[in-house]
Each structure stands twice: as structure tokens, then as C-alpha cells.
Amino acid sequence: MHKGLDTDALNSISRRCKELFGQMTLEKASMRLMRSHTDVIVFRCRLGQIHPILVSIALADPPMIAIDMSGSIARLKIRIDV
């Protein structure tokens, strides 16, 4: 979950993940955009690949912040109001 950018954020995270960890890791992460608001996007990825995704978010350009993580969209909705 990232704050501050539009849906291009997902492409920027994917690009960084591919550069740092390779195409295989990116495919395994299976990132999918779930929701998009003005400055918050919600996407899902495999829990087993959370490590490279969090590193990619921190090192993505333009900058973005992982504001929350959850196992379900419903719980996330309660916590961050999207």
C-alpha cells in the first residue's frame, strides 16, 4: 500500500524489483493492482515475496511509502479508509 502517487507507482515498483532481484522474483511476487485513489494505491503480492517488494518500494523513484500491510483487503479498508 503506497501513498503519494497515482497508478504509475506500481510500474515504478515493478521496474525497481526487476532491476534489483530479477524477472523471476517479480513474476513470483505476482503483483496486482487492487484499488487506486488520488494518492493511495492498494496492490496485492505474494507474502513469500514481501521482502523484495518492500525494498523496491523504499528505493523506487518517484518516492513512495508503504503505509500498511494486511492479509485481507477488508481489514486494510478498516485501517486506512480506501
Partner: protein, 130 residues
């Protein structure tokens, strides 16, 4: 009221008066650091320039961080990784920090414990009483 503070510098030449020094290129600064180093100094590395790096530069940056961490451990200095955020959007979540430290090859539990100890110890010496 007590006002704890830290003196920060980005110049290796002014090490003696600083609690913390910000380094942008560790490999260049290493030789000067070795000569002028004092134990207990905090050596800070900023994360925000890494966002603009390409894959090759970023890989080197990770290797440099590990080298710096080993250097800090052996010289009694505190390795500090900071977001270097100039705006709130450039801040980094705690979990992302942990993952970056892991990627560098640093045990993040130990890192945060050491940071906490270093900060308490350094701030205790630097309090202005008003």
C-alpha cells in the same frame, strides 16, 4: 527543561566536534575517516540519493553499505542508515528499513538495539539545561 541535541557534520575535517557525520561516498571518505576517527561517532548514510540510481549503481551502493557497516563495527562507531527525507513522502516505513538492512547483510534487531543504546548514551552527554 532539558534539551538533548546532536551535532551533525558532513565534512570529515570537522570530525572532532561532531557526534554524527553524514557520508555520501564511503569509499572516498574511508582513508580520511581512518585517520581522524573517534570511537562512538555516528556515521550516517542517506537513502534518498539511492532512489535516483540505476541497477548497477544501486548494487554498488549496497556493497558499500556492507563495507561501511563492517568498518563501523571494527572501529567502535555507530552505523546509521537514514531516509534523508526532505518531505514526508520521502520517509521510509520501519518494515522497509528492516528489509533493506537485511538485504545489506545486517541483523536489523541488533542494529536497532545498538542504535537505541548509542542514541541514549550520546544524548545523555549533550544536554543543555535551561
Amino acid at each position: 527543561m532539558n534539551f538533548p541535541y546532536l551535532s551533525v557534520s558532513d565534512k570529515v575535517d570537522s570530525l572532532q566536534s561532531a557526534d554524527l557525520i553524514t557520508i555520501s561516498n564511503f569509499r572516498k571518505a574511508k582513508a580520511s575517516l581512518k585517520k581522524k576517527l573517534k570511537a562512538g561517532l555516528g556515521i550516517e548514510f542517506l537513502l534518498h540519493p539511492a532512489r535516483k540510481m540505476n541497477a548497477e549503481e544501486l548494487s554498488k551502493w549496497f556493497a558499500e553499505l556492507l563495507e561501511a557497516h563492517i568498518f563501523c563495527e571494527s572501529s567502535g562507531c555507530q552505523f546509521i542508515l537514514s531516509s534523508g527525507a526532505r518531505w514526508p513522502i520521502e520517509m521510509i516505513s520501519g518494515r522497509s528499513f528492516d528489509e533493506i538492512l537485511t538485504e545489506v547483510g545486517i541483523d536489523y534487531h541488533k542494529h536497532w538495539r545498538d542504535m537505541d543504546r548509542w542514541l541514549s548514551r550520546t544524548l545523555a552527554k549533550k544536554v543543555i539545561m535551561k
